[in-house]
Amino acid sequence: MSEYLIRKAIVNDIPFLADVVIASEKGMSDRLSFATLFNKTEAEVKDLIMLMLEEETEGCELSLSSFIITEFEGRPISGSGAWIEGLNGALPSKILKSNLISYTFGEKSVRYLRTKAHIVQDVLIEREPMTLQLEYFHILNEHLGKGLDADLMHRIEENARAQYPGLGKVQCQIFKNSVFSIKILLRHGFRIAKSYKSADEEIFDYLPYNEKLVMEKEFKN
């Protein structure tokens, strides 16, 4: 592992982080919800994600401060995003994220979303306050199988406990077809806590899958 360097993400990492967000959002599918729900191309979405990360809002999945990067030979090869929901009285992450998207994507995109909102309602899940929320976790293919996931998970949890020593739980929302990622989480002590499924088949045109899981792990304090 010594050939890898894990560090906090910085502004220069934003283009790579945009790729991390896109790869994580698509999971095991070709559906990118930022594109399908807002009528954008993937290239447009990448530019918009970079703009949102550049705002450096704290406390949600689109916060630069939520990410850690792994470097290999001076180049980023993994990105992981996590934050403590509602820490220090912050607004709920759903509001912070929505503000960023509203402002960055623009009114035309939000009007388009209005016509699709009913399709995804069943898989919108509230985040539990004062828990660690793990949202994005992506390692470039050629660096898989090197034990990096364990070190990243440990660093994420360590960073979170330094911010909030009383941290009791980490949660991750993940589509059920992300079998590889689910296996990794199970290996790291997560269990499936809840499942949310949509009966609307149209959801497959917009999201990676029709069922989302909440996986969680409790910390022994």
């Binding site: 705002e55 809002t57 929505s98 503000n99 960023l100 998207i101 509203s102 939000v110 909102a117």
Partner: protein, 79 residues
């Protein structure tokens, strides 16, 4: 624009977005108080409020908006 007028114009917007004709908005009302105030409805709310008042919220405005009272104050500041 007076606060009362802003609240009177916001009320039907909130009721439409959250599909609740009995919803009463107060200064303290926030996303924590309304069951279906999620990320999607928040985006729709912002869009509808901007259209109602012919304004565009800056991102710094949105960041300061913890409740309806903050929203009213920000709308008022734009007139």
């Amino acid at each position: 624009m007076e606060k009362e007028e802003i609240v009177n114009r916001l009320t039907p917007v909130f009721r439409k977005v959250f599909s609740d004709n009995s919803l009463v908005i107060t200064d303290e009302l926030s996303a924590l108080d309304v069951e279906n105030w999620d990320s999607l409805s928040h985006m729709l709310l912002i869009s509808e409020v901007e259209n109602e008042f012919y304004i565009k919220f800056k991102l710094k405005d949105l960041k300061k908006m913890a409740n309806v009272g903050d929203m009213v104050a920000i709308i008022s500041s734009k007139f």
